[in-house]
Structure formats: structure tokens, C-alpha cells
């Protein structure tokens, strides 16, 4: 009788602990999904900011890093050409933000040298991985450090789309890698016009 009672207690305790773990994991996941990207702070060239500073404009988000030799320069080149083809009034309605995925190697100074070379008005967001990762995930952007048998050490695989936010900070679309810059300009104009 005593032995069976002990076994039952053990079983019940195990079940309770198991449930506890499940609830804990679930809540942790829920918290991740509930992150509000508008409230995440980043370093920028002009002090700490979050997305709220850009409410009222169309915001183009691009996630990249400095040691990226091909994809990021291609996107930067595309977006800088697409911007130049917008009228000055339209340019004032759009912000481009480069969000860095490699804070271990990239500094604000180097990022400025890179991003501002393409357009001095482009913004830079730099934060530690623990802030950047859930922010990126919220926008459907995945990235992963990958060791390379190369003097580069590692590269960062990452999604290549530009995510477009409307004036209220909500996602209204995206622009795919490889889009022609003239098409890009017209896509951006469409987004501007869709947000009176």
C-alpha cells in the first residue's frame, strides 16, 4: 500500500513538473512572438532610436552586414539608384534603414562609412543580437551565422528582401532582391500613393 502510494506521488509530481516545463516553454515562445518592434531601441548615427521615430513615413527595412561581398552591395546599389529616381518630395516621404546583422564585427563608424556612401540620408540600426534577432524575426527575416573554411571566419546567411512599412509602422509589403532599380522606384511610388 505504502509503495503504491509513493509511486503514485512520484507519477503525479513528474506530471506536474512536465506541465510546468511545457507552460514555461510556451510562455517563452509567446513572449517572443509578442515583441513590439516599435519599441526596440537601436544605436543610430544620431543617437538611440526606435521605429516610432519614423512613423509618418514609408520605411524600407534591409537587414545586412559589412563583410557581405555581393548581396548587400547589390541591394545598396539598387536602393540608392531607386531613391535618386524619386522626386525630392517623394524622397522626403521615405526612409531607408540598414539593420546590422553582425554586431560582433561591424561598428557604427564602419557602418556609416558604408551606408552613407550610398546615400547620406540612409539610416543605420545597430544593436546586440538579443534585440536584433526577435526584431528581424517579427519581420519574417531569418539570419544565421555560418562558419566558413575561409579567412573570413564566418558569413551570415540572411533573407534578402526589403521589408516595407507603412506610415503607422505596419508591414505593407516587400521588395525582392534582384529587382531592377527603375521598377523599384515605381514600386516605392506605389507604396507612397497607397498611404495618403
Amino acid at each position: 500500500m505504502g509503495a503504491r502510494l509513493k509511486d503514485s506521488i512520484k507519477l503525479i509530481l513528474s506530471i506536474i513538473i512536465l506541465f510546468g516545463l511545457i507552460i514555461f516553454a510556451y510562455q517563452k515562445n509567446m513572449l517572443n512572438a509578442q515583441i513590439d518592434p516599435q519599441n526596440v531601441y537601436f544605436q543610430t548615427a544620431s543617437g538611440p532610436k526606435n521605429l516610432k521615430s519614423f512613423n509618418g513615413k514609408i520605411v524600407l527595412l534591409y537587414f545586412g552586414f559589412l563583410s557581405c561581398p555581393d548581396v548587400c552591395p547589390t541591394t545598396m546599389s539598387f536602393i540608392s539608384k531607386a531613391f535618386k529616381q524619386l522626386s525630392p518630395e517623394d524622397q522626403k516621404k521615405v526612409e531607408f534603414i540598414f539593420i546590422d546583422l553582425d554586431p560582433k564585427r561591424d561598428t557604427m563608424e564602419k557602418l556609416r562609412g558604408y551606408v552613407e556612401y550610398f546615400n547620406p540620408n540612409f539610416q543605420i540600426f545597430l544593436a546586440e543580437e538579443k534585440s536584433t534577432r526577435p526584431f528581424a524575426r517579427f519581420f519574417g527575416v531569418d539570419y544565421r551565422e555560418v562558419p566558413l573554411k575561409s579567412n573570413m571566419g564566418y558569413t551570415v546567411d540572411h533573407s534578402t528582401d526589403i521589408v516595407v512599412l507603412g506610415k503607422n509602422g505596419k508591414i505593407i509589403g516587400n521588395i525582392h532582391h534582384g529587382t531592377d532599380s527603375e521598377v523599384g522606384t515605381s514600386i516605392i511610388k506605389d507604396f507612397i500613393n497607397s498611404q495618403p
Binding site: S67, D70, S150
Partner: protein, 135 residues
């Protein structure tokens, strides 16, 4: 024995020839860039590019880019195959020569020399032009 033509872009060495050799101009703060070119193989055996070397950097590698579900992956490769009687085009978003730890600042229209080494024992001297892809 190989012939050097002084057309701005064409180089021959035995079976392999190179054309349209361009280096992407990147901001001075960036020490990494890519070189793109077309390689043609006039022989009836596949030839592999094994190595690229030059004064611009001591760290030059061959890389490939693979796009999967809107995510771009870059991988170092040990060789690039040039099919028999065929060609391979190294370009943005695909196979390319990756140059990092650049020793000299890149300026548009500058020329830089490189040596390509192939698995059939051939070597090819090429000249690359720095191009501003932002224009």
C-alpha cells in the same frame, strides 16, 4: 606559351580565355569585394579553375551564392568547373571570385592584374577593371 592581347579585356592561355573581367567598386571602408568574369574553354576536356592570386590582396577565394527561400547563402568552393567547349560566367548572385583584405583603395576604372591557375597546369594572366555598379 601564351599570347597576351592588348584589347582591353581579352586574355588567352592555351585552352582557357577570359573576358569582361570586372571588380565591383565598393566604399573605402569596405575591405571586401567581388570580381566577375567569363571563362571559356576551347578544349574537349573539362578544366577547373583552382586559384586566383594578385597584388590587390593576399586573400582571394572562389565562392558561390545559393538562393533558398529568399535567403542568400554564400559558400567557399575549392574549384570552378569550365565545361569542355563551353563557358562559365562568374557574376553577382552566383559564382564569383571573392577578394578580401584589399590592400589598395579601389578607384573607378583602375586596372588590377591577377593570375588564374587551372588544374591542367595552365596559368592565365588577366587584367580587371574596377567598375562602379551604382551608375
Amino acid at each position: 606559351m601564351f599570347l597576351m592581347f592588348f584589347f582591353s579585356q581579352l586574355s588567352f592561355a592555351g585552352a582557357i580565355s577570359a573576358s569582361n573581367v570586372q571588380i565591383r567598386l565598393t566604399p573605402p571602408v569596405s575591405k571586401t569585394t567581388a570580381m566577375f568574369l567569363t571563362l571559356k574553354n576551347s578544349s574537349d576536356k573539362e578544366v577547373k579553375l583552382k586559384k586566383v592570386s594578385g597584388d590587390l590582396s593576399d586573400n582571394i577565394e572562389l565562392h558561390d551564392m545559393i538562393m533558398e527561400n529568399n535567403s542568400m547563402k554564400m559558400r567557399a568552393v575549392t574549384e570552378i568547373k569550365i565545361p569542355q567547349k563551353g563557358e562559365v560566367i562568374l557574376k553577382s548572385g552566383s559564382l564569383h571570385v571573392m577578394i578580401f583584405d584589399i590592400k589598395k583603395e579601389l578607384k573607378e576604372n583602375d586596372k588590377h592584374k591577377f593570375k588564374l591557375t587551372f588544374d591542367n597546369g595552365e596559368n592565365l594572366e588577366i587584367e580587371a577593371s574596377v567598375k562602379d555598379f551604382n551608375k
